[in-house]
């Protein structure tokens, strides 16, 4: 197991290096000039040029890359060219809202989607199955911002049950955090319910045709036990994979949801950094996302033996 983990981690180094180099060059080749943005709309060309020189933006790309890599080797992601705050601090500020939203969305989506997928498979080609499929397709098709605005209008503006916007940090109390997460979680979870329910249904359909399921039934096992213990456990790896991909997407930032509910998460931070050509911040974000994606994939892979003992590392 440890050898497998070590090899997997080693294999991520070239992947991360490729992602970083590609991001660096694409970002710097894109039009836009942070110096002009920092100077502001009213600055003169001379003032813009002075800031450009201050930020070393006139240096060759290779020199800028070298400076960044040297800093990176010292675990220093640099400072935002706008706020002058360390990139690590900016990412840390936005990490909690994104992580909490990802966790709450994943939990809600799994709690709803897996039972729905199992029921749909068990009642395949019936009205229940078709109902679940329609629900899944609808959840997947309706844009998050439409659901979000509807939820805000009903539960926040009209009923005043929940806040319209914002995120309350855990440090200010769990209750506030949960209240601020309810509406964005529901809006986002509907999307992932559709995705996970469909995969669960499809996988379960395959598993339910297996001989050992027939054997279990022949032995007189209860339907619930057959479905949950014998079938669902064996259908686990593809479902966990989809959940992992979904969680990684959520961690990567859900810009639209964060925008509609004004949640200061990583998605908005990335979008703002790109629009402002805040090179150090964008590079730091991409590195963070790449590392998290690798980590989540690794964790998902490591869970496979829990569902299928034949898989060994």
């Amino acid at each position: 197991m440890l050898r497998y983990v070590g090899l997997r981690l080693l294999s991520t180094i070239p992947v991360l290096a490729f992602v970083l180099l590609l991001a660096f060059f694409l970002l710097h080749l894109a039009p836009g000039d942070p110096a002009a943005l920092i100077a502001g709309d009213s600055a003169t060309p001379a003032q813009v040029e002075a800031i450009r020189a201050q930020l070393h933006l006139n240096e060759p790309l290779s020199t800028q890359l070298w400076i960044w890599l040297i800093d990176l080797a010292h675990f220093d992601l640099g400072r935002s060219v706008f706020s002058n705050l360390p990139v690590t601090q900016l990412i840390a500020q936005r990490f909690e809202p994104t992580l909490m939203l990802a966790i709450s969305t994943t939990i809600l989506a799994v709690l709803l989607a897996v039972p729905l997928g199992v029921i749909a498979a068990y009642r395949a080609r019936t009205g229940i199955d078709r109902g679940v499929i329609v629900l899944a397709v609808a959840g997947y098709s309706v844009p998050v911002f439409v659901i979000g605005y509807c939820l805000i209008f009903v539960f926040a503006v009209q009923l005043h049950w929940l806040p319209v916007q914002g995120y309350k940090p855990l440090a200010e109390g769990l209750g506030g955090t949960l209240r601020s997460l309810v509406l964005p979680t529901v809006a986002l979870a509907l999307l992932y319910v559709g995705l996970i329910a469909r995969v669960t249904r499809a996988t379960m359909l395959e598993v339910l045709d297996e001989d050992y399921i027939r054997t279990a039934r022949a032995k007189g096992a209860l339907t619930l036990r057959v479905l949950c213990i014998h079938a669902l456990k064996n259908a686990g790896p593809p479902i966990v994979t989809v959940i992992g991909i979904g969680f990684a997407s959520l961690i990567g930032g859900v810009v639209v949801t964060e925008t509609v509910f004004n949640i200061p998460g990583l998605g908005r931070l990335t979008a703002e950094a790109v629009l402002r050509r805040d090179y150090p911040l964008v590079q730091g974000m991409l590195l963070t996302f790449a590392v998290m994606l690798v980590a989540i994939n690794l964790v998902v892979d490591l869970t496979y033996p829990l569902f299928d003992p034949r898989i060994r590392y």
Partner: protein
């Protein structure tokens, strides 16, 4: 088996705890906190590093000025308690008010003020003019210092109290000694509030609390002058990437103040019992269309004049504001309508679209279908609407327009390039300077005619240069006004830019607020919030 039970118990316990926490959470904060949504985002804090309006507006909370502009656009002493001008008009002796302290508790000294002025003079055009007139500055004692000029200059106080881009804010000397092109890293001021750096989350939230050492003036507040009394304990500036969410938050009482409400959302606020909207500043800002003098075809005066004839100010403004004509005015004045130098001289073609006339003038100018690249930022709702119409106007007159749809960041970058279009240059872009800068020929960038040393567009005209220089040296307000009128006449001859409508700053506010001060700068001293 035991593990499973434990797991189930933990899961159940967690769910129950979550529900309990959710049920007991307080929906609203009891407070004397003002929550505001402003236009743009505060990324840069140093007010001498950028001309960004969010930076300037929020800087007024943290830093103070020696002099300040009042509601009548007159300069009044602010940090200065008393001042004297020598008989030869060359020495200004400024004495700081008693008890002035920085937010770290140390006293404000003349050395701090001199260092702050030196840093400001590097960046600001008005500051550079003052630096040119200055012989030296010297501290007299712990609270008094002198500005000694080479020659009498009647705009000295106006420079020190200027409210537009690059305000001469006072900072402690150790901070003000930072080179002008490098951002300061310590944010200590003598304004009514202090920024809480431990809560600073750029793009999300900025928090200000009362400066315990601030001593307000005795006079009532008047725009940026007078007594700046901090009445709310805490100000939270919350960024919203989406205006609809911000309006919803205003209606739900989650924020108290929203700057820049889009016209299509005003009816939603009008229908509310708890909020209302108003026009905070009747000068506002104008849409300025700028032509690139450095490249064909707009290096030709007649082509520029033809473009002006092609543009319809009314259509352009209606594209964003619709029929809500309370929110804008069709203004012919270079120095803004409602400001001291308002005039309609030489503005016939600016005010009246004439497509046929534009076609004829283009022909006369020898326009040979050269490409015209219009930078069209689509990420700003207003600029997108304006430029969509401007592009159609220009095409209707026969210009060969390339509609370059892009984002604001790219526009900021591309407009610095005065080369040909093929090398990343441009022909037309739009911007939106505010009245507070535009109303003064010194801070209005379109009056200079300074060629490659001037602002983007690089308008190049001897007469504009001479008139601008004459304005700086004008001895009386009457003479200044006379020159300003001549400047407008010349600007509309050579077209250093063209204004395409003046629009106002619209604010949505909670009905719980009182004491808000009108004007071009957002100020939050003097504001109270009732229960």
């Amino acid at each position: 088996m035991k593990f499973r039970r434990l797991f189930r118990a933990a899961l159940l316990g967690g769910m129950l705890a979550s529900v309990a926490a959710l049920a007991t959470a307080l929906p609203a904060q009891a407070d004397n906190t003002l929550r505001i949504k402003m236009t743009g985002s505060l990324g840069i804090i140093d007010p001498e590093l950028t001309t960004s309006t969010p930076t300037r507006d929020m800087a007024y909370l943290v830093w103070d000025t020696l002099f300040a502009t009042d509601a009548d656009y007159k300069v009044q002493p602010q940090m200065v308690g008393k001042y004297a001008i020598s008989d030869d008009q060359k020495t200004y002796t400024l004495t700081l008010r008693d008890g002035l302290k920085w937010s770290d508790g140390t006293p404000v000294t003349p050395a701090d003020c001199i260092a702050s002025l030196k840093r400001w003079m590097v960046k600001d055009s008005f500051g550079r003019l003052l630096a040119g007139e200055l012989d030296h500055m010297e501290a007299v004692d712990d609270t008094t210092f002198k500005l000694v000029l080479k020659e009498p200059w009647g705009m000295t106080l106006q420079a020190l109290g200027k409210p537009g881009a690059y305000v001469p804010f006072m900072m402690p000397q150790r901070i003000a000694d930072t080179p002008a092109d490098k951002a300061i890293t310590e944010y200590v001021g003598s304004g009514p509030y202090m920024m809480k750096m431990d809560e600073f989350a750029p793009g999300s939230k900025v928090v200000y609390v009362k400066n315990p050492y601030y001593v307000p003036r005795d006079e009532p507040a008047s725009f940026l002058a007078g007594g700046k009394v901090a009445k709310v304990d805490r100000i939270e500036r919350i960024d919203f990437p989406d205006d609809v969410s911000a309006v919803n938050a205003l209606l739900a009482g989650e924020i108290d103040y929203m700057e820049g409400v889009p016209p299509d959302l005003l009816p939603t606020i009008e229908a509310s019992d708890t909020a209302e909207w108003y026009i905070r500043d009747h000068l506002g800002k104008s849409l300025q269309v700028v032509f690139n003098w450095a490249q064909p075809p707009f290096n030709n005066e007649k082509v520029r004049q033809a473009a002006v004839m092609a543009l319809s100010m009314k259509d352009i403004q209606q594209a964003y504001f619709g029929d809500n004509d309370k929110l804008y005015t069709l203004c012919p004045a270079v120095f803004f309508c409602g400001a001291p130098y308002e005039t309609d001289i030489n503005s016939e073609h600016v005010m009246k679209q004439d497509i046929e006339g534009a076609k004829a003038l283009l022909k006369e100018a020898g326009y040979n279908n050269e490409p015209v690249l219009v930078i069209h930022p689509t990420d700003a709702q207003d600029a997108d609407a304006y430029m969509t119409v401007a592009v159609q106007n220009l095409r209707a007159a026969g210009f060969n327009v390339e509609d370059f749809a892009t984002d604001t960041a790219t526009m900021f970058s591309r407009r610095t390039n005065n080369g040909p279009i093929a090398d990343g240059g441009w022909s037309v872009f739009s911007t939106g300077w505010g009245g507070i800068d535009m109303m003064n020929p010194i801070t209005n960038v379109f009056t200079k005619g300074a060629c490659d040393k001037g602002w983007f567009g690089w308008a190049c005209d001897d007469q504009l240069q001479q008139l601008s220089a004459a304005y700086v040296k004008a001895a009386t307000p009457e003479e200044q006004k006379d020159i300003a009128i001549k400047l407008q006449a010349r600007i509309y001859d050579v077209i250093s830019f063209v204004p395409m409508g003046q629009n106002y700053i619209v604010v949505g506010r909670s009905k719980k607020l009182s004491g808000l001060i009108d004007g071009a700068v957002s100020t939050f001293w003097n504001v109270s919030k009732s229960d």
